[in-house]
């Protein structure tokens, strides 16, 4: 059951991913999709909507027979989220679908709606008896970020869901965790011998996790204003990437074991005492991006002229454990930056002794291992190499690239495909649970509180890499941001 079918996310990501799964033969036979919205649609109208979004956004080629199989299970229920009658109709529709298609009575609720509506919908689901599962069948609920806007609101959101669903039936979608490269962080670290010995404060100088968008907020003014970059991205995506990069080796890849290690490392994360010195925030201003003129955040439609919402956020955090003591982790995210890129860069210390003339190594910077999450999913290793030639020894940075697109010819599955499939399979390692979400808020809350008291964010020119304060905060530690 999909709530919020008319939203961007449903149209561009969820419905195409469902088709792609069907096309790859990964959906169970008898899979049904019930849309729920306040529209006067018949089943056919909704099927047409799905069809259009699949044609436009699906990653795999359109095949008529796959579509026909999928279309047979598509239903639509028109109604208001507050109307109990609509939910009774929903129940009848689903039960009928169970009987017609043999779905074994397994139901998933995908809440692609603003979190403010969760209490209403969850209560309706419960009252209509939709949450009661017969023996051997499951009920699962899927929600999207934001998981609250601070620790207190996250906990009350948990409470709403926990009243109706068991903890392992709640799937919080963090689509970054569905990306191949993110999962590959664990594979590279724990399946190889050559990296893990270096993965500690003895060899690592600092770790930089960057998520940059080249676009502005687009049409999301209503969602974005008041939320800002830190809540939108650092709280979930970046802290999850940090956890995967910094956690200790789990005993096994059993979801419980992985989660335990992630929770352990998140619990050890601390923010600096002096938040002003070690964080930066900004708001994009009018400028040129990629040779195209763009407007500033305050000029975006729907944004109040006095908004103090940050569109760029950078923070330093530390991890107080034996492995990472003294290694700063720099997290930054922003909109309207130089280019669209997400990456985790492990920057190593400089060799303790360089037996070369100082002029030979002027162009040598620190070794780095970079996980490129998007685009160009892959891994880059940066190290020094001699420039070929007879005229002396000049050592310069070179890179060794591993690119997914090149090595795996089949287009790698879209993150949503993986996550939706995992929901159906009940396989939760990629989904953060309530405790991880709470721990992340515990990290971010002091920063957000301090920012709320410190006036306006710094303006930064669109198309660059953020405000001057971001460079200053990292320069205070004697380091620089790498150019992603």
């Amino acid at each position: 059951m999909l709530f919020g079918v008319t939203g961007d996310l449903a149209r561009k990501k969820i419905m195409p991913a469902i088709y792609d799964l069907a096309n790859r033969g990964l959906l169970p036979p008898g899979f049904g999709l019930v849309g729920f919205a306040r529209r006067e649609w018949a089943d056919e109208d909704f099927a047409q909507e799905v069809h259009d979004s699949v044609r436009e956004f699906a990653r795999t080629p359109f095949r008529e027979e796959v579509w026909r199989q999928l279309a047979q299970g598509i239903r639509f229920v028109a109604g208001d989220l507050a109307d109990p009658q609509a939910f009774r109709t929903l129940r009848e529709t689903v039960l009928a679908l169970d009987a017609e298609r043999g779905t074994l009575g397994n139901h998933a609720f995908y809440l692609s709606i603003p979190p403010g509506l969760f209490p209403t919908v969850v209560a309706q689901i419960q009252q209509a008896g939709l949450a009661d599962s017969p023996a051997g069948a499951w009920r699962r609920v899927v929600i999207e970020k934001p998981f609250g806007h601070d620790l207190a609101s996250a906990e009350s959101l948990d409470q709403v869901l926990a009243d109706v669903f068991a903890p392992d039936e709640i799937f919080r979608i963090d689509h970054y965790l569905g990306k191949e490269t993110v999962q590959n962080i664990l594979a590279v670290r724990f399946a190889n011998e050559m990296f893990e010995p270096l993965w500690n404060s003895r060899y690592v100088d600092n770790i930089q996790i960057t998520q940059a968008e080249d676009i502005g907020i687009g049409g999301r003014a209503g969602y974005y204003d008041g939320i800002g970059a830190a809540r939108d991205v650092i709280q979930n995506h970046l802290l999850q990437l940090l956890a995967l990069t910094a956690m200790d080796e789990p005993l096994s890849f059993d979801p419980r074991q992985v989660r335990q290690e992630k929770e352990k490392v998140l619990a050890a994360v601390t923010v600096p005492q002096d938040i002003d010195r070690h964080t930066a925030r900004g708001q994009y201003a009018t400028g040129w991006q990629g040779g195209v003129p763009v407007v500033g955040y305050l000029e975006e439609p729907g944004i109040p002229a006095e908004s103090t919402t940050e569109t760029f956020a950078a923070i330093r955090v530390d991890i107080d454990n034996r492995r990472w003591a003294g290694v700063p982790f720099y997290l930054r995210t922003g909109k309207r930056l130089g280019r669209r890129v997400t990456e985790v860069a492990v920057v190593f210390k400089r060799a303790p002794h360089l037996p070369f003339a100082s002029t030979s190594v002027l162009e040598l910077s620190d070794n780095a291992l970079v996980f490129r999450i998007q685009p160009d999913e892959g891994i880059t290793l940066r190290f020094g190499s001699k420039v070929p030639g007879v005229s002396g020894m000049e050592v310069r940075d070179v890179t060794m690239d591993f690119q997914y697109g090149d090595s795996f010819v089949d287009t790698s599955p879209e993150a949503y495909e993986r996550l939706i499939l995992d929901v159906l399979l009940g396989d939760p390692p990629l989904f953060p649970q309530a405790r991880e979400v709470d721990l992340s808020w515990r990290i971010l809350d002091p920063v957000l509180e301090r920012w709320a008291d410190s006036g306006r964010p710094d303006a930064y020119a669109s198309g660059g890499w953020g405000p001057a304060s971001a460079y200053e905060m990292i320069a205070r530690d004697g380091r620089t941001w790498r150019r992603p």
Partner: protein, 302 residues
């Protein structure tokens, strides 16, 4: 080649990535990004020279051609990746109308991560290279004052605004001359008292060579007019007589040292691609060039 019309830096970056994927997996990592800022006069030659030197230095070549004025305001790009011309990635971008003032914003999404950036102005240049928005990305900034209407005035501007990382192709053109002269001066030729360089009028390389010798030997240096092409000769007056390295035809040099048989020296005028390839071999500041620049006022021109 792919042609993108009315495009943006982001679309160009995406097109290069897509083309690279389409070609399979070129495993050569790019070692640097070369920014070429130029006009239509030098665009084709400069890009071709860079493409040729990409055999030695696999790189991303971004040629920016600002075309201010006119009614159209848009960016057009020609992109080619790999293939017969060498392993590099090339984008030639024409920035029309008001876009021409925003080359920097086009470049930012196209810079390769982690590797050095080099900027090259084959024609006219900003006054201070390192303070230029494009130049500020680059650790090495290459100019060519020989293409300017007044090369000697150009050299003066380079001298007055020098910052570590600057270099000029009229200096690179001297490498063969300098290494030969350095080898000669390692021999017992006696103390050098003065230096005369012969070249056509307004030859910036001649001036730099004289300045370099004036600084290195601490002697008076003079540039006299010769017929060309390029440098004709350099003569060092020593206590033992005159040491002369001459190149009358622009390719084969002749070395005369008192008491030693004459010997031919290959001193060909080199192609632009060779010069660029040489400059890209060293990306650290060229301190000797800086010394030669600052010794320019010591050179007498006759």
């Amino acid at each position: 080649m792919i042609r993108l019309e009315d495009t943006s830096g982001h679309d160009i970056a995406a097109a290069i990535a897509q083309e690279r994927h389409r070609m399979g997996s070129p495993t050569t990592g790019m070692v640097l990004t070369l920014l070429i800022l130029t006009d239509e006069t030098y665009q084709a030659d400069a890009t071709a020279a860079a493409v040729a030197s990409a055999r030695e230095h696999p790189m991303r070549i971004l040629t920016l051609v600002p075309r201010p004025g006119g009614d159209t305001s848009r960016i057009d790009a020609d992109i080619s990746v790999g293939g017969d011309d060498g392993p590099g990635e090339v984008a030639v971008m024409r920035l029309r109308g008001d876009r021409s003032a925003h080359a920097n914003s086009v470049v930012i999404p196209l810079l390769l991560p982690d590797t050095p950036v080099v900027a090259w102005w084959p024609g006219s240049t900003p006054v201070s290279l390192a303070d230029d928005p494009i130049g500020s990305h680059a650790g090495r900034r290459i100019t060519d004052v020989s293409t300017l209407p007044d090369p000697l005035a150009g050299l003066t501007i380079r001298r007055e605004n020098y910052q570590p990382g600057d270099t000029d192709l009229s200096w690179t053109r001297l490498t063969g001359w300098r290494s030969t002269l350095a080898a000669v001066l390692d021999r017992p030729v006696g103390a050098v008292r003065s230096v005369v360089v012969n070249a056509p009028e307004r030859n910036p390389s001649a001036l730099l060579l004289a300045a370099w010798l004036a600084w290195a030997l601490d002697v008076p240096a003079r540039v006299a007019t010769g017929p060309g092409p390029g440098l004709n000769s350099v003569a060092l007056s020593t206590d033992e007589g005159s040491v002369e390295l001459s190149r009358p035809d622009g390719s084969l040099g002749l070395l005369r040292i008192p008491g030693v048989p004459e010997s031919p020296i290959a001193l060909p005028r080199r192609a632009l691609s060779d010069l660029i390839a040489e400059d890209l071999r060293r990306l650290t500041p060229d301190e000797i060039y800086a010394e030669a620049l600052s010794a320019l006022p010591r050179v007498e021109i006759t």
